[in-house]
C-alpha cells in the first residue's frame, strides 16, 4: 500500500484517479482472467494477486495510456504464475488455448457494456422459475450441488436445467446485440 517512490518530476496518477480506473475495469479484468482459467474461484484468486501488483505498481502507470491493457498484461503474468503453482492439477488449459482465448476476449471487450445491459434485459425476460434457479445458482458461495440438495432434485437434472437456461440467455443476448446493430 505504500506509495511509489518515483521521483516527483514524472507524471503520476492521483489515488483518486487510480481508484476510478481500477474500479471501472475490475469486471473486465475478471472476465479476461476467467476465460483463460475456466474456474471462478481461481479467477478470483488471480484477480486478487493482480490487484496487489496493480497497487504496488501504481506509480508506474502513465496517465493517458490504456489502463485496461496495462492491467491485462499484469494479469497475464499472474495467470502464468498461478498455472505454475497448480501445474500438478489434472486438468489445465494449454498456453496456446489461453492465448487464443485472451485475444478473443479483448476483441469482445468493446461490447462488454452492451452485453451487460442485454444480460439484464434477458434475465428479466426469463420465466420466473428459471430466473429463480439462476439466482440461486449464482448466489455468492452457492453451487449446483447446494441447489440440488435444497430442491431435492438429482444433481444431473439441476445441471441440465442450468445449462438450458444459460443457453437461453446466451441466445437472447446474441439476439439483443444483433437487433441493436440492425436498428
Amino acid at each position: 500500500m505504500s506509495r511509489s517512490s518515483t521521483p516527483g518530476s514524472e507524471p503520476r496518477i492521483s489515488t483518486e484517479e487510480f481508484v476510478q480506473l481500477f474500479t471501472q475495469t475490475q469486471r473486465s479484468l475478471y472476465l479476461f482472467i476467467l476465460a483463460q482459467v475456466g474456474n471462478t474461484h481461481r479467477a478470483e484468486e488471480i484477480l486478487q494477486e493482480t490487484n496487489l501488483v496493480l497497487w504496488a505498481k501504481l506509480g508506474q502507470f502513465r496517465p493517458g495510456t490504456d489502463f485496461l491493457s496495462w492491467s491485462r498484461q499484469i494479469a497475464t503474468f499472474e495467470i502464468l504464475k498461478s498455472r505454475q503453482r497448480y501445474r500438478r492439477e489434472r486438468l489445465t488449459f494449454s498456453e496456446e488455448f489461453m492465448q487464443s482465448v485472451a485475444e478473443e476476449v479483448v476483441t469482445l471487450a468493446t461490447e462488454e457494456e452492451r452485453r451487460r445491459e442485454a444480460l439484464q434485459f434477458c434475465l428479466e425476460k426469463l420465466p420466473a422459475s428459471d430466473r429463480a434457479l439462476i439466482e440461486q445458482r449464482y448466489e455468492p458461495g452457492a453451487s449446483g450441488k447446494d441447489i440440488a440438495v435444497q430442491l431435492g432434485r438429482p444433481l444431473n437434472s439441476v445441471h441440465q436445467s442450468l445449462g438450458r437456461i444459460r443457453r437461453l440467455l446466451l441466445e437472447c443476448i446474441q439476439r439483443q446485440l444483433a437487433a441493436e446493430v440492425g436498428t
Binding site: 483518486e16 476510478q20 471501472q24 475478471y30 476467467l34 476465460a35 478470483e44 486478487q48 490487484n51 449464482y138
Partner: protein
C-alpha cells in the same frame, strides 16, 4: 462447427462452469477453440455469461443475502469484497476485533453474541506490530454495502498532497452552526413563520395516519431514537454532514423541553440546509457528470439562493422549466443539459423530475401498463421544447490573439414553432402540437411555450407537481417515498399511504409550496424520531424487498457521496463553516468525480460506482481524505485528543467515538477498545517506541477503524 459439435461444446462449457469437466471434454474444448473461430467466439461468450452472472450476483446478490437474516451471522463478506481485501491488508496480524462498532444498532441478542465472542477471539498471541481490524457483524443492508475495515498497519508516513487547510483561527473556532443564529440565511425575508402549534398539529396528524396502517399490519412502532441517534440523522438530512463533537455535546446537555424543535429550526435556517437541498436538486436536475456547455456551479448557487430565501417550490420549478439566457444565470442549465436528441431527454426528465411520471416508454409505443398514455402524450409534451434552441456565439473578448474564440451558449425561444414529427408503431409519420393535460397551446409573442407549460404543470387544479415534490421530499427523510419507484407515480403504481400523501400535498399547496414548512413538519413527526431498530425484529416491513413501507422504524440509509465527503471533513476536524466556502465546493466536486461518469443514453443518464462495496471501500481505506482525517496535525481534533496530557484512555476513546459516530461507546465497546489500545501500545513500546508516540499511533489507528466502520457511512 456442426450442430452436434456446437451442442457437445456447450455441454463441455456447462461442465466447466459446474466444475465437472472431464479430460475428454477438455481436449474437445481445446481442439474446437483452437481450430474454429466460431467455436472460440462461442466459448468466450458463454464463459463471459457465466462470469457476469457470477460477478454481478456477487454485487447485487450479496446485498439481498444480507437483508435476509443469515444463519451464520458473523462476517459473511461478499465475494467482491473478498476479492480485494487481501490487496489492502498486506501485513496481516490481527490485534483487535473491533466487533463493537455496530452493536449500538443491533437488536439485543446478536449484540450479546458478538461481544461475548470478541474477547475470546481477540487475545491471540501475535508477534507483529498491531494493526486494527474491525470485524463488523453483518446484518443490515447498509452494513454489507460498506466495507469492513481491515487495516494494513500503519499508514506509512507519506508526504501528503497539499490539501488546503484552515487558517488556524478559523478551524480553532468553537463556533458550531447549531449553537448560534447564522446570518446569511436572510432571516428577514422568510415568509411569515407559521405559529409553532400548526406544524406540530400537522405532524401529529401524519403520525396518526401512519399509525393506523401500522396497526392494521400488526407492526408495532419502534422506540424513540436516542439523542445520539437523532442528532446524527437530523444533521445528515438537514445540513448534509455529521454533527461536530461540540454540536453533539451541546445537544446532549441541552435540557430544554423543546430542544428537538429548536435544533430543527436552527438547522432549517442555516445556510447548510440551503446547500444540502441545492446539492440534492442539482444532482437530480443535471446529475454529477454532465459538464459540456453548462455551468453546474451557477445552477447550484441559484438553487442555494432559492432554498435559502425559501422561495416557493412552484416558483423554482417554473423557473427551471421556462428559463432563458446564458449558463451563468443558473436555472438555464437544466435545459442546456437536456435539449440534445430533439429534446427527448428534456421531455422525459421534466416529466420524471417534476411530476414523477415515467413517460419515456411512451416515446416509442403506448405505455405498457397505462394504456391511456400513448405516444402522443410524450410527443405533445416534447413539442413544448421545440421552440427552444441553444445558440452559440463567440464570447466577447475571447479569440483575439488568433486563438479560436470561446463559444457562449444561450438558451432562446424562436418565434416560430415547428411541430414535432414522430413515427408511430405502424411506421406512419405523426405530427404533435404542444398539448398538456388536454389543453392545446398556441405560440404567443408574450409567453414562450415553456412558460405556458410551466403554468399548466403548476395550475391549481393539477396537484401532481406538488404531490411529486412531497413524495420526493418524504423519501429524502425516510429513504422510501409513498410509491415505488419513487419517480413513477402513474396510475399503475400503488401508493402506500394515499390519504397521507393527499393531506401533505394539500397542505403544501395551501402553504404556497413552502419547502421549509414541509420539511419542518416532516422533521417534527414521531415517525422521523423512531429508532432504526424495529420494536419486534420479526415483525418488520422491508421495502427493499417490495413491501409497502410502514415507516414504523427508521430505515437505515447509506450516506450519499456528498454527505460522506463532508462528514469526513468534519471528522477531520474542520469547522462546519469551511464547508460553505467556494474552495471546499471545488474540492468536493473534484472528489466526487471518481464515482460518476456519464452514460450516453436517451435519458442522459450516468453511472455511479459510489455505494458499491469496492470503490467506496478503497476510497475509505486508501483515499487521501481519510488519510488526512487520521493524520496529525492535519486533523486538529485528533491531535488535541492525543496531546491532552493526563486524560484517561477512556476519555480519549470516548471523544474519538463521538467525533466519528456522534455517540459515546457502550461500556462493553469501551472495554474491548481499551484492551486493544493497550495491546497496541505495548507492542510498540516493546519495539522501543516512546510511550507517548505509541499512544498517538494507537489512537490514530483507532480513529481510522472508526471511520472505516460500517456505522460511520450510514444514516440510521
Amino acid at each position: 462447427m456442426t450442430n452436434q459439435e456446437r451442442n457437445t461444446l456447450l455441454a463441455a462449457i456447462d461442465a466447466l462452469c459446474e466444475g465437472e469437466l472431464s479430460a475428454a471434454q477438455l481436449a474437445f474444448l481445446e481442439q474446437m477453440v483452437l481450430s474454429d473461430s466460431a467455436a472460440r467466439r462461442l466459448y468466450v461468450e458463454a464463459i463471459a455469461l457465466h462470469g457476469s452472472l457470477h460477478w454481478d450476483a456477487a454485487g447485487a446478490g450479496a446485498m439481498e443475502a444480507a437483508v435476509s437474516p443469515r444463519p451464520q451471522a458473523v462476517p459473511a463478506r461478499s465475494p467482491r469484497l473478498r476479492r480485494f481485501v487481501p490487496a489492502i491488508a498486506i501485513p496481516a496480524g490481527i490485534a483487535l476485533l473491533l466487533t463493537v462498532i455496530m452493536t449500538g444498532l443491533l437488536p439485543k441478542p446478536p449484540v450479546a453474541n458478538s461481544l461475548s465472542s470478541a474477547p475470546a477471539a481477540a487475545p491471540r498471541p501475535d508477534s507483529q506490530p498491531a494493526p486494527w481490524t474491525s470485524q463488523i457483524v453483518n446484518t443490515t443492508e447498509a452494513q454489507s454495502r460498506i466495507a469492513p475495515a481491515d487495516r494494513a498497519h500503519p499508514i506509512p508516513e507519506i508526504s501528503l498532497p497539499a490539501i488546503p487547510r484552515a487558517a488556524p483561527h478559523e478551524a480553532d473556532a468553537e463556533n458550531s452552526v447549531a449553537t448560534q443564529a447564522v446570518p446569511g440565511a436572510t432571516a428577514g425575508t422568510i415568509p411569515a413563520v407559521t405559529p409553532i402549534g400548526e406544524d406540530q398539529k400537522l405532524a401529529a396528524e401524519i403520525d396518526r395516519l401512519l399509525q393506523v396502517q401500522q396497526q392494521d399490519s400488526g407492526v408495532p412502532a419502534a422506540r424513540t431514537a436516542t439523542d445520539a441517534e437523532w442528532i446524527r440523522r437530523v444533521y445528515l438530512d438537514l445540513a448534509g454532514r455529521i454533527p461536530t463533537v461540540d454540536e453533539a455535546e451541546a445537544y446532549f446537555h441541552d435540557s430544554r423541553a423543546d430542544k428537538v424543535l429548536q435544533l430543527v429550526d436552527t438547522l432549517l435556517n442555516s445556510p447548510e440546509f440551503a446547500r444540502q437541498e441545492a446539492t440534492v436538486w442539482t444532482n437530480l436536475l443535471i446529475g454529477h457528470s454532465r459538464t459540456d456547455n453548462i455551468d453546474r456551479t451557477a445552477l447550484f448557487h441559484w438553487l442555494s439562493d432559492q432554498f435559502a430565501d425559501n422561495r416557493p417550490w412552484r416558483e423554482t420549478a417554473m423557473n427551471l422549466v421556462a428559463a432563458k439566457g446564458t449558463p451563468a444565470e443558473g436555472p438555464t442549465n437544466f435545459l442546456l443539459a437536456h435539449l440534445n436528441n430533439q429534446a427527448v431527454p428534456a421531455t422525459a426528465i421534466t416529466a420524471r423530475i417534476f411530476l414523477c411520471e415515467q413517460l419515456q416508454c411512451a416515446q416509442c409505443h403506448q405505455h405498457p401498463v397505462v394504456k391511456s398514455w400513448d405516444q402522443s402524450r410524450f410527443w405533445e409534451l416534447n413539442a413544448f421544447f421545440q421552440q427552444t434552441k441553444i445558440i452559440a456565439s463567440p464570447e466577447a473578448g475571447s479569440g483575439r490573439n488568433g486563438s479560436s474564440p470561446r463559444m457562449r451558449q444561450e438558451l432562446v425561444d424562436a418565434s416560430v414553432l415547428r411541430p414535432t414529427y414522430y413515427e408511430s408503431l405502424r411506421g406512419v409519420m405523426q405530427v404533435a402540437y404542444p398539448r398538456y393535460a388536454g389543453v392545446e397551446v398556441q405560440t404567443s409573442p408574450k409567453q414562450s411555450l415553456r412558460t405556458q407549460l410551466a403554468e399548466l404543470m403548476f395550475a391549481e387544479d393539477r396537484p401532481q407537481a406538488a404531490r411529486a415534490f412531497v413524495n420526493r421530499t418524504w423519501a429524502q427523510f425516510f429513504q422510501y417515498g409513498f410509491t415505488f419507484p419513487l419517480d413513477d407515480m402513474g396510475p399503475h403504481t400503488p401508493v402506500s399511504h394515499p390519504q397521507l400523501l393527499e393531506q401533505l400535498t394539500a397542505d403544501f399547496v395551501a402553504s404556497e409550496y413552502d419547502v421549509r414548512k414541509l420539511v419542518r413538519v416532516i422533521c417534527l413527526t414521531q415517525a422521523y424520531r423512531r429508532s432504526s431498530q424495529p420494536a419486534v425484529p420479526a415483525l418488520v416491513d422491508d421495502p427493499a424487498k417490495g413491501d409497502l413501507p410502514l415507516f414504523a422504524h427508521m430505515y437505515i440509509r447509506p450516506m450519499t457521496a456528498e454527505q460522506l465527503h463532508d462528514s469526513l471533513w468534519i471528522a477531520a476536524g474542520i469547522s462546519p463553516r469551511q464547508l460553505l466556502t467556494a474552495q471546499h465546493e471545488m474540492r468536493r466536486e473534484d472528489w466526487l468525480k471518481q464515482f460518476y461518469r456519464a452514460v450516453d443514453t436517451e435519458e442522459n443518464s450516468e453511472a455511479t460506482t459510489f455505494g458499491e462495496t469496492l470503490p467506496q471501500a478503497l476510497m475509505m481505506m486508501n483515499g487521501d481524505l481519510v488519510r488526512t482525517a487520521t493524520t496529525t496535525p492535519d486533523n486538529r481534533l485528533l491531535e488535541e485528543v492525543i496531546n491532552r496530557h493526563g486524560d484517561a484512555e477512556a476519555d480519549r476513546i470516548r471523544r474519538l467515538s463521538l467525533a466519528a459516530l456522534s455517540r459515546y461507546p457502550t461500556p462493553e465497546e469501551l472495554n474491548t477498545v481499551r484492551d486493544a489500545l493497550r495491546r497496541s501500545i505495548r507492542h510498540r513500546t516493546e519495539r522501543n517506541m516512546p510511550t507517548q508516540l505509541a499512544l498517538a499511533e494507537g489512537l490514530k489507528d483507532l480513529y481510522w477503524a472508526y471511520l472505516n466502520s460500517s456505522e460511520f457511512a450510514i444514516s440510521h
